[in-house]
């Protein structure tokens, strides 16, 4: 018996087992991170300075957490909106915006920010841990966390047009005023 004659059936068995279990998994993965649950804390290196940043460092602030990558086209589309959001609130001590760079190369991420402009901090999600904790389905995704550290809003896809005005008027503004969100 040659090695391949043993390995091949084993591979087929493994494949079938994986496929079988896959059928009972949830393929489209509705992430466990749901609105109105505590935001998972994370510790990740800052993109430029490399020092560790934690979500809990920003307790008491409204945090906008944006997951992006340099290879993601939709991210480039929303980038100017993100800059606009931060420009609007950067002087408010109760507001902070953090970008989470997802599955990316450091130099490419920096090139991307150079090209599209940057006015807020970013952390690198090396092992994809932060993204997994937040149940990221794809990029871009944006979360808004209130002053108590609860996730109050999640949006999938680029923040442009209506989702931009919604984010400002219906999410960030009320949260900064300490109101609870409607709906």
């Amino acid at each position: 018996m040659k090695t391949w004659q043993v390995v091949l059936p084993l591979l087929i068995v493994c494949l079938v087992v994986v496929f079988y279990h896959g059928l009972y998994g949830n393929p489209s993965y509705i992430p466990p991170v749901i609105i109105n649950t505590p935001a998972p804390d994370f510790a990740a290196p800052e993109l430029y300075e490399g020092k560790e940043m934690r979500l809990s460092d920003h307790k008491g602030k409204v945090v906008v957490l944006n997951f992006w990558a340099s290879w993601c086209r939709e991210c480039a589309l929303e980038h100017s909106s993100l800059l606009e959001v931060n420009r609007r609130y950067e002087n408010d001590p109760q507001f902070v915006m953090i970008g989470v760079n997802y599955q990316d190369k450091e130099n490419l991420a920096k090139e991307y920010l150079e090209k599209h402009g940057n006015n807020f901090k970013h952390v690198r999600d090396y092992a994809g841990k932060v993204s997994i904790d937040y149940g990221i389905y794809g990029v871009p995704e944006t979360f808004v966390i209130d002053k108590e550290g609860m996730i109050r809003h999640k949006s999938i896809g680029p923040i442009i047009g209506e989702s931009y005005t919604h984010l400002i008027d219906k999410v960030i503004e009320p949260l900064l005023r300490g109101e609870t969100l409607k709906g």
Binding site: A69, W71, S80, L108
Partner: protein, 674 residues
């Protein structure tokens, strides 16, 4: 009523498929050819029966019969007739019926063509193809029935997904099915060889055209899908490493490896087990692709409805086919000792071996990338997704390796070569490639990946040009004609070699297209108001006005843009749209494209304010992007020439002509494959 006739025809086809599966075996056991003939009738009839089923569905589409669930969910009375018919393969159930129809067509054709010449193969071919058809018909009739009606008759259909309302998208899926199903014929021949124990090279020679045809269809399908994604999805790229794209790419990679390695078996009687393995793998991957796409185990933009019941059935069927095929291969492989051992690692067969190795690595890269997320989930590890950076980083070196081999393989002799001969083959191409580097650098190509890719491409191009110029010269001298006629003769006298060369040229053209359109793409995104301009490389894109527009089944906004070159001359006027399809309430962005040389100015409007006072504009300059599809076209021409070389050039054009004994530059690489 018509629909019920179609439904009944397909049910009958299932019965006949079972007949076709069993009777040839009875014939083999009882040594009675009449049983095999029954199988033949069954597969021929099946084609007509399933055709009736298809026509009945088309009839329901054309007559707006929305009491049929599937027609209701994939059509609408406002749709143009072209897309009404295309709705048939716009969803899961109908496209499966399409699969089964193509399978029955190919099976009937293969039996018709090979009945007299391959009598020993026929019982196995009929039985195996009927087994496949049985599996698909069971799935269609019991778990994904497109003929199902509802009690309540809706006034109008839900509409075909607007993204699919596009000519390229109408042809893309059937092309892929032709490719997938086309692979089933060489697969069945291989299985027949395994079952019957007639394991000579015959099955490879007989199925060569089938394999080439399947490959051509698969390539066309993939390229059309890319083209559709490019101008319809509006992100300006054509390949996203999406799991479903990968599902079609994996059998393509293996089929390509197979097309190369069969040449070694034909010429040197080597790689026998390997070739059987490759074709079984290629077809199995078509089935695995079907499973991945239709069971919903992987999340992808190409989502079909997720139904574990269907998934279980396809998985059970897939497992059965995998066990049967690979089991037979393992069982028979002891019989299959290559008659010839490899003599040297510097020989054409060795280059084919490296070629296959690279294709296998490429396949494994894509396979792991596609299944890794699923594997991690099953093992209760974390949920992950594999992004384009993984593929781009790992795939690129493999692609380079393959292109490099293209510049060596066809020119190195079979059996044994020497280092000196290899030097003779690579010196000039290497010299040209190396000297081109500073030139490329000086004209502004400074990206290291681009430089490498382009110089490797140039290496292979030089090898091809040198080979054909030498051949042209030789034929010109021999027959006393001009060089161009000599070239024409060189081309004609060895059609198979020339067809291969043409296909390789296509690959080179495509490589240049991919390199330029990805590494040198310029992208600008800006909120723009009428009257404002955006600078895009040497061009100025000016928004003249924004206005509402309506179509037959959609409404939206259109931007009128003027594009100026650096001399402020008007180059073109472009009108990208932001549409909303009314019935399904699906928004789409319609790109506006202007071709400059072989590159594109590509505009989309991802967002327009409701009062049409401003819009977000995404402007792309994609240099040489059309080379990707031109290259594909040249590859297709090469394969067509290979398939029809007998018709085009006559079966033995070089009768009475002595095949040239020497091909420059090295006397001992004179082998010309015929």
């Amino acid at each position: 009523m018509i629909l019920e006739i179609g439904h009944f025809a397909v049910i009958t086809a299932l019965v006949l498929a079972v007949v076709g599966m069993i009777t040839p075996w009875v014939g083999l056991q009882t040594k009675n050819g009449a049983w095999v003939a029954v199988g033949r009738q069954a597969v021929t009839l099946n084609f007509f029966l399933i055709s009736i089923g298809m026509l009945a569905m088309v009839y329901s589409y054309v007559t707006h019969d929305y009491s049929v669930k599937y027609v209701f969910s994939t059509s609408n009375s406002k749709l143009p007739i072209f897309y009404k018919v295309a709705g048939l393969w716009g969803g899961h159930e109908g496209s499966l019926l399409g699969w089964a129809w193509i399978l029955s067509l190919f099976c009937a054709l293969a039996v018709w063509i090979h009945w007299r010449t391959q009598p020993a193969v026929m019982p196995y071919l009929i039985s195996i193809e009927s087994t496949l058809l049985t599996g698909f018909l069971l799935l269609i009739l019991f778990l994904s029935n497109p003929f199902e009606r509802t009690l309540f008759i809706p006034p109008d259909g839900k509409d075909l997904n607007p993204l699919l309302q596009d000519p390229a998208m109408v042809i893309h899926p059937p092309m892929l099915y032709l490719g997938y199903v086309g692979l089933s014929i060489p697969y069945s021949f291989a299985m027949a060889a395994l079952f019957s124990g007639r394991l000579s090279e015959e099955w490879i020679k007989v199925t060569q055209r089938w394999t080439l045809f399947a490959w051509l269809a698969l390539t066309t399908g993939i390229l059309m899908g890319g083209y559709w994604a490019y101008y319809e999805l509006g992100w300006g790229g054509y390949w996203g490493w999406d799991p479903v794209e990968n599902a079609s790419f994996m059998p393509w990679l293996i089929a390509t490896a197979f097309l190369h390695s069969v040449m070694v078996q034909e010429t040197r009687k080597m790689f026998m087990v390997w070739n059987l393995f490759l074709i079984i793998l290629a077809f199995s991957l078509s089935l695995i692709g079907t499973f991945l796409v239709r069971s919903g185990v992987l999340s992808s933009v190409h989502s079909f409805a997720n139904d574990p019941g269907r998934g279980i059935f396809i998985l059970a069927f897939l497992t059965f086919m995998l066990c049967l095929s690979f089991g037979m291969l393992i069982f028979r492989s002891s019989k299959l000792k290559s008659k010839v051992e490899m003599e040297s690692f510097l020989s054409r067969e060795a280059i084919f071996l490296y070629n296959n190795l690279f294709f296998m690595i490429a396949f494994i890269i894509v396979f792991i990338g596609t299944l890794y997320p699923l594997f991690m989930e099953v093992m209760k590890f974390q949920k992950v997704s594999v992004g384009p950076p993984y593929y781009n980083a790992v795939f690129m070196p493999v692609a380079w390796g393959l292109i490099l081999l293209m510049g060596i393989g066809p020119y190195i002799p079979w059996r044994k070569s020497s280092v000196a001969s290899l030097k003779g083959i690579v010196t000039l191409p290497f010299f040209v490639a190396f000297c081109s580097l500073p030139l490329f650098y000086l004209v502004g190509i400074q990206d290291i990946y681009a430089l490498l890719a382009l110089s490797i491409t140039l290496f292979t191009l030089t090898a091809i040009v040198r080979d054909y110029s030498a051949l042209a010269k030789m034929w010109a001298e021999r027959d006393g004609v001009s060089l161009s006629r000599g070239l024409a003769r060189a081309f004609r006298q060895n059609p198979r070699k020339s067809a291969g060369m043409l296909t390789h040229l296509g690959v080179l053209v495509m490589t240049v297209g991919i390199v330029f359109s990805t590494l040198f793409q310029t992208e600008k995104i800006q909120v723009i108001k009428p009257g404002e301009t955006l600078a895009l490389n040497n061009y100025q894109v000016k928004l003249v006005e924004l206005y509402p527009v309506t179509g037959v089944n959609w409404s939206g906004y259109e931007g009128l843009f003027e594009v100026y070159d650096k001399n402020k001359r008007l180059v073109t006027v472009l009108r990208p749209q932001k549409r909303l399809y009314e019935v399904s309430q699906t928004p789409t962005t319609e790109a506006a494209i202007h071709q400059i040389y072989t590159g594109h100015i590509f505009l989309t409007l991802p967002e327009v304010t409701p009062d049409a006072s401003s819009a977000r504009l995404r402007a792309l300059h994609n240099p040489l992007v059309m080379w990707v599809w031109y290259g594909g076209g040249i590859m297709g021409l090469g394969v067509l020439m290979n398939i029809f070389r007998g018709f085009i050039f006559g079966p033995s054009r070089n009768k009475g002509v002595t095949t040239p004994a020497v091909v420059v530059p090295i006397p001992d690489n004179a082998e010309i494959v015929t």
